[in-house]
């Protein structure tokens, strides 16, 4: 190797480092990553305290990684490299047949499961109205045949059995309906939620349990509101080579009204008007939030059937696409998200003259949720 060649190699290396150093310095920091659906770390404040505790360094490291120039491109390159190397998963997401991305279902923490089932039982004990309870099996269970052969994946049906046996609520199964229709698009391929179609089967199961006659699917007109939906699993997988999902809705919005109860900055309760379908979200990454406008602590949906009973739903985000179907039967559907709602659900039920309650979670959310403790109070 000649001296000139060595200079070239050395310069190449230094230029590579300097190029990205300069690009990182020049590129403006992003507040939020749409693709990853989360806020990105910002330059941490420097103080003697944060330096001594090492907090500054830890935050700075996250900041550099989060704000690295061309982050999304690098992440996509890494997942493509993984595929090229013969991997069938990236960041805990399996590359499945039919362009489907499925998050691995990890073996649940037994104590958390037992505790959460107990909290539901406590809730039932405090109540003199009927409490229905079901867990929604997800892609990792219903679409298990799409997973790579032999891919490790904990059993959701074992968990459903456990819940059925140990609960004192009126258990109903969502599983058979979804399983029977597993060849239809009951889940999104790139998002962890069920589709409106999947939610319809969930609705049919619930209606059956409550003694209601579900509206036949054929009576609805399916409307596709988006053909370009890339969901949360798409984000976490880093995979960029699958086709987007469609979002369909079935139930017309007419005659429904949605009020979200929240607090302003001074802690005063305020009411915010929402819609069954907020199409403004369709222009954003988080398109699933079009159902009821995404997360909320407490929401009330008023249906066209003003004579119907009142329902309380203790739920996760899967219920956002279920609620449209329920509006046919209930005058009011009260939605409580225990991640944000910390008041007594029992008192709420008394105050508002609720006729029946449903506790409905997806299996992965139920076995990891740490907020069900609020139900028992």
């Amino acid at each position: 190797m000649t001296k000139r060649y060595c200079m070239f190699i050395s310069a190449l290396f230094c230029a590579f480092l300097l190029f990205f150093m300069a690009a990182n310095a020049a590129a403006p920091d992003r507040l939020y990553s749409e693709l990853e659906n989360r806020e990105l770390a910002q330059l941490p404040a420097l103080s003697a305290k944060s330096l001594i505790s090492g907090e500054f360094m830890a935050k700075f490291e996250t900041y550099v990684t989060d704000q690295f120039v061309g982050r999304d491109g690098w992440v996509a390159m890494k997942s493509a490299a993984e595929l090229l190397l013969g991997k069938r998963e990236n960041n805990g997401v399996y590359f499945c047949s039919g362009g489907t991305l499925i998050t691995r279902f990890e073996t649940p923490d037994e104590k958390r499961v037992a505790d959460n089932l107990n909290y539901v039982n406590k809730f039932v004990e405090n109540m003199d109205i009927p409490v229905y309870f079901s867990l929604i099996p997800t892609q990792a269970c219903i679409w298990a045949d799409r997973l790579p052969a032999g891919a490790p994946n904990a059993s959701q049906s074992a968990l459903l059995d456990q819940a059925r046996q140990s609960t004192s609520a009126r258990w109903y199964d969502t599983y058979p309906q979804l399983w029977e229709h597993r060849d239809e698009a009951v889940f999104y391929r790139t998002d962890h939620h069920w589709t409106s179609l999947g939610a319809y089967y969930g609705y049919a199961a619930l209606a059956g349990a409550m003694g209601l006659e579900p509206v036949p699917l054929s009576q609805y007109v399916k409307t596709t509101v988006s053909e370009n939906f890339y969901g949360t699993v798409f984000s976490s997988s880093g995979v960029r080579w699958v086709l987007p999902d469609c979002i369909d809705v079935y139930v017309p919005e007419q005659g429904t009204r949605v009020i979200s109860h929240t607090y302003d900055q001074n802690g005063n309760p305020v009411e915010e008007s929402r819609q069954l379908y907020d199409e403004s979200y369709l222009a954003r990454k988080d398109k699933y939030a079009m159902f009821l406008g995404g997360q909320q602590s407490l929401g009330v949906v008023y249906g066209p059937n003003a004579q119907g009973p009142k329902l309380l739903l203790v739920r996760d985000s899967y219920s956002d696409s279920l609620v449209p179907f329920l509006t046919a039967h209930f005058s009011e559907i009260h939605l409580i998200d225990l991640r944000y709602y910390k008041l007594s659900a029992a008192e709420y039920i008394q105050e508002h003259g609720i006729d029946a309650a449903v506790v409905l979670y997806s299996v992965p959310n139920f076995v990891t949720d740490s907020n069900l403790v609020w139900l028992g109070r």
Binding site: K3, G54, W74, A81, K87, A151
Partner: protein, 467 residues
């Protein structure tokens, strides 16, 4: 700070190279000392005080040894050496082994030592060994005393080898600290070694590490024999590419700054005996124990029983150096027994066996040793080893073994080839022209792929902070 991180590569390193090379020659050690201290303080803002104390005390001890020696006061010089060794070992004991000893005594019903719950200062196992070597080398006359505290501080804190070795003895580095030349040829070769090391760590070690992580958590009831071997093999690759990748990066960075460090790994997995394995694995640690413990104890030139005792003692120390836990001691003693057997008769037998038998023999024993190393809980270790040798509750194979084996097959194959000198030999046989054309592309590919994996760094653990 770790080398395999974005802020090191794209912030700290360019600043270091810039500041170092614009500084006039005589200021370079001073500049380097400041940069080293920033490097260390980044990870240890408080424990850096221990580093300062260590520098001051070992510097003073070196001066004391020199003074006594110049007055022909051997007893004084020996006392100073002993004092330095005691200080360094006490430091190491206090931070690394106190809780382990306290816990073990308490378990035996002797709970007089309270548990302190102190965090282990990064790299303390490495720098205490280096500073110990300094006073000993000065006493033995193998190195001249370092009169400049700046130069001595630069030696102790030299960032390329500060937190994960190689463990550089003062006698090998002292002259380079005092004066060294900087050539572009050396810089360019440093770049190549550094990028190879980076790729080994980020692309191979982290990737195969995920296979081991998937395996180590498998409940006893689901553990299969094939799975246990797959897991142990994955860890064997992970620890080799992690550690040797890190050493390569250290050697590369050293060269960029004009230093020449010793080679720490020499394709250990092609060894044909355990004796040979330890001449090729973590060479700087092996030679340290050899020069400062094994030979002073009499080395080979003693009676058989004494030789075996020496080997047991040295390997018990080597084992426990790797971490304050019983499994590391067990791991060291496992090698002691193997080395004793080899010295007693096995080596003579092996010499007559075909190479392939010798390699398989060595590899199998080494993979088993990594299982002992990797599984810290002794109860779990028992289950794991039993599973490896046919007593698995999950049977011979099944469950996710096949999935993991086939998903990791390409990486395992790459790792297996990369563990041999094959690629390096092919590279050297390449004519100069294609080599010159290929090199920049390979370097860029290594840098770009590593950057992509680091940006997606949901997974970038560093194994050596425990040492």
């Amino acid at each position: 700070m770790v080398f395999s991180s974005l802020y090191f590569l794209f912030l700290y390193l360019p600043i270091v190279l810039f500041a170092y090379y614009i500084a006039p020659l005589r200021w370079r050690n001073g500049v380097l000392l400041v940069l080293n201290l920033i490097f260390y303080a980044w990870g240890e803002p408080v424990y850096i005080l221990i580093m300062f104390a260590s520098i001051a005390i070992d510097y003073t001890h070196g001066m004391l040894v020199e003074r006594y020696k110049s007055r022909n006061n051997d007893k004084g010089a020996r006392l100073a050496v002993a004092s330095s060794v005691v200080f360094n070992l006490a430091l190491l004991f206090f931070f690394k082994y106190w809780d382990f000893v306290a816990g073990s005594l308490a378990a035996a019903g002797l709970g007089f030592m309270p548990k302190l719950g102190l965090r282990l200062p990064i790299g303390i196992s490495f720098y205490t060994f280096q500073t110990m070597s300094y006073t000993i080398d000065v006493y033995r006359g193998n190195a001249r005393v370092q009169k400049s505290i700046v130069n001595f501080g630069t030696f102790v804190t030299l960032f390329p080898q500060l937190i994960a070795g190689p463990i550089i003895k003062y006698k090998d580095l002292g002259d380079q600290i005092d004066s060294r030349t900087h050539t572009v040829e050396q810089f360019a070769s440093g770049v190549q070694i550094f990028v190879v090391g980076l790729a080994k760590k980020v692309l191979l070690a982290n990737n195969i590490g995920m296979l081991w992580d998937a395996w180590k958590a498998v409940p006893a009831g689901e553990l299969t024999t094939a799975g246990a071997w797959l897991g142990a093999a994955a860890f064997s690759f992970q620890i080799y590419f992690d550690f040797s990748g890190y050493s390569d990066m250290a050697v590369g960075l050293g060269r960029m700054l004009g230093f020449e460090f010793m080679r720490n790994f020499d394709y250990p997995y092609i060894s044909r005996s355990i004796t040979e394995f330890w001449r090729r694995w973590h060479i700087s640690l092996g030679t340290w124990f050899r020069e400062y413990m094994y030979i002073p104890m009499g080395g080979n030139r003693v009676s058989r029983p004494r030789l075996f005792f020496n080997l047991l003692a040295v390997w018990a120390a080597t084992g426990i150096w790797h971490g304050a836990s019983w499994n590391f001691l067990l791991w060291g003693l496992y090698f002691a027994v193997l080395l004793i057997l080899e010295k007693a008769f096995l080596l003579r037998w092996l010499e007559r066996a075909p190479s392939v038998v010798r390699r398989v023999y060595t590899l199998l024993l080494v993979v088993v040793s990594w299982a002992i190393f990797a599984v810290e809980d002794l109860g779990r270790l028992g289950i794991y080893l039993k599973a490896m040798f046919g007593g698995a509750e999950g049977g011979l194979t099944g469950g996710a073994v096949e999935y993991y084996f086939f998903s990791y097959l390409p990486i395992l194959a790459i790792a297996a080839v990369a563990s041999t000198p094959l690629a390096a030999a092919l590279w050297k046989r390449l004519p100069e022209r294609p080599m010159k054309v290929l090199l920049p592309f390979l370097l860029l590919a290594g840098l770009i792929c590593s950057t992509a994996y680091l940006v997606d760094a949901t997974y970038n653990p560093f194994l050596y902070f425990r040492f």
